[in-house]
Amino acid sequence: MITTHRLSKLYGRGLYALRDLTITVGKGEFVFLTGPSGAGKSTLLRLLLMKERPNEGEIIVNGHNLANLSRSEVQEYRRGIGFVFQDFKLIQRRTVLENISFVSEVIGVAPAQQRRRAFQVLKWVGLQHRMNAYPQELSGGEQQRISIARALMNDPALLLADEPTGNLDPDLSLEIMNLFREINAGGTTVLIATHDRELIRLVGRRSITLDQGRIVEMAEGHASVTA
């Protein structure tokens, strides 16, 4: 699903966020990216979302080299990706239902289809009863579930999450992780950046540890192997 080859991202003079990074994430896999702050986890997600471009190396997603995509191809590529952020990025002046259907509306999906899918994903995250509430009326856990529902709206093949439990307590974090596991069980490739090693241990999936832009450890489930 995702292959990076000798990927480097440079910020400023000699300050590498990623350096010679080569990783592979298979289709339908659930992988954690971990490491301390500044390790390069969020940078890799930004490169995968094409919010930024690498300085060197290449990224292949679903057989497409991201460097060769035209503007319209980038739009098409992004429609196949769901994303979840630590700060939820919900639009405060829109209701829950509007926040979710918005992502389908702006890619031109018919209104009836938008509503049908929005109800479906809201039901799936168990918040259909809060569809008319505004984000500020929801708890942190509820907001993150809405954010996940929004990420699922366009039925993505790949789901990227950047510290999705960073603002949540341990119980809620596990609840959110269970949602990601269910999403993954449906065939969606999931890549989550988190510094919470305890959570990774509890979920028990493959993890890639970065430090200063390089891979320092690759672990399969509970069995940890130092790179």
């Binding site: 639009i91 918005f102 509306e105 890619i107």
Partner: protein
């Protein structure tokens, strides 16, 4: 189609959220369009007067006192065959004197003291409006002036040309002023739309991340500019109409007299529509410029 629908729904919502800043942009466009509309109103009415003068244009062929009836016949024949004249009338010396006495009654006593009738006979030729522009009037004039029996030819078009040129200059100066004001209005619209854009920064980021097309991302800002421009221009038309109504009610007879009997008229619907379209264009340009910061 969905992108257009989305753009106008969001543009309208943003317009309503804008409050005071939106009002500011609408007023800026209204001012620019009022200047342009006022100029159109003045030139439109003066042009109607000019058109009347042009259609009633005449030239006079003054005959020598010793001109024979054959010579007069040749002149009249040339005028008739030219195809440039809409009609002609022979004014004898006696008729010219009678006309002078009736038109200038206060000078009638002066004319009475003159022994011989000093007024020459003439042929007054009414020209076709088309002959003015295609040069046939000038050609006829030159031919007639060389014919025997002709003392003088008066074709006083220079002043009409001067009025026309003055009107053109007014139109150009007003056009430049309106253009400058329109540019200032577009900049104002752009600034106001950009304020809304900053408020929607997070929404725009999400739109880009989910793969929204440029039409969805930038469209609402262009639509907001179009709406601001349209409302500003409608306000300008209403303002002009109000001003025109008040002026007509207060100084109607004086205005009609100033226009030599031509009743002043408000801009025709097509000009009003053009003003609204112009306002929308100015607003849309401002919105488009602002939307470039959305991606």
């Amino acid at each position: 189609m969905r992108a257009i629908d989305y753009a106008f729904r969001q543009g309208w919502a943003s317009l309503r959220r804008g409050g005071g800043s939106t009002l500011f942009a609408v007023v800026a466009i209204a001012l620019a369009m009022s200047v342009l509309g006022g100029l159109l109103l003045v030139t439109w009415n003066v042009e109607r007067l000019l058109a009347r003068w042009t259609t009633s244009a005449e030239f006079s062929v003054y005959l020598r006192d010793d001109a024979t009836s054959e010579q007069r016949g040749v002149i009249e024949g040339l005028v008739d065959q030219s195809g440039a004249a809409a009609g002609r009338e022979y004014v004898s010396k006696e008729q010219a004197l009678v006309r002078f006495r009736s038109e200038f009654a206060e000078l009638a006593s002066t004319a009475a003291g003159i022994g011989d009738n000093p007024f020459p006979a003439s042929i007054e030729v009414r020209m076709q409006a088309a002959a003015e522009t295609d040069g046939r009037a000038d050609a006829l004039l030159k031919k007639v002036a060389t014919l025997p029996g002709v003392a003088d030819v008066r074709y006083d078009r220079a002043w009409l040309a001067k009025v026309g040129a003055g009107l053109d200059a007014l139109r150009r100066a007003g056009g430049v002023l309106a253009l400058l004001m329109a540019m200032a209005a577009a900049v104002t619209v752009a600034a106001v739309v950009r304020l809304g854009l900053h408020a929607r920064r997070e929404e725009l980021e999400i739109m880009q991340l989910v793969g929204a097309s440029l039409a969805f991302i930038r469209g609402p800002f262009v639509a907001e500019g179009l709406l601001q421009g349209g409302f500003g221009a409608i306000a300008a038309v209403l303002l002009l109409w109000g001003g025109f109504t008040v002026a007509s009610a207060s100084w109607g007879p004086q205005l009609t007299a100033a226009l030599e009997g031509v009743d002043p008229q408000f801009l025709p619907a097509r000009f009003c529509a053009l003003l609204v379209a112009g306002g929308m264009l100015v607003g849309g340009a401002g919105g488009f410029a602002a939307s470039r910061h959305a991606v």
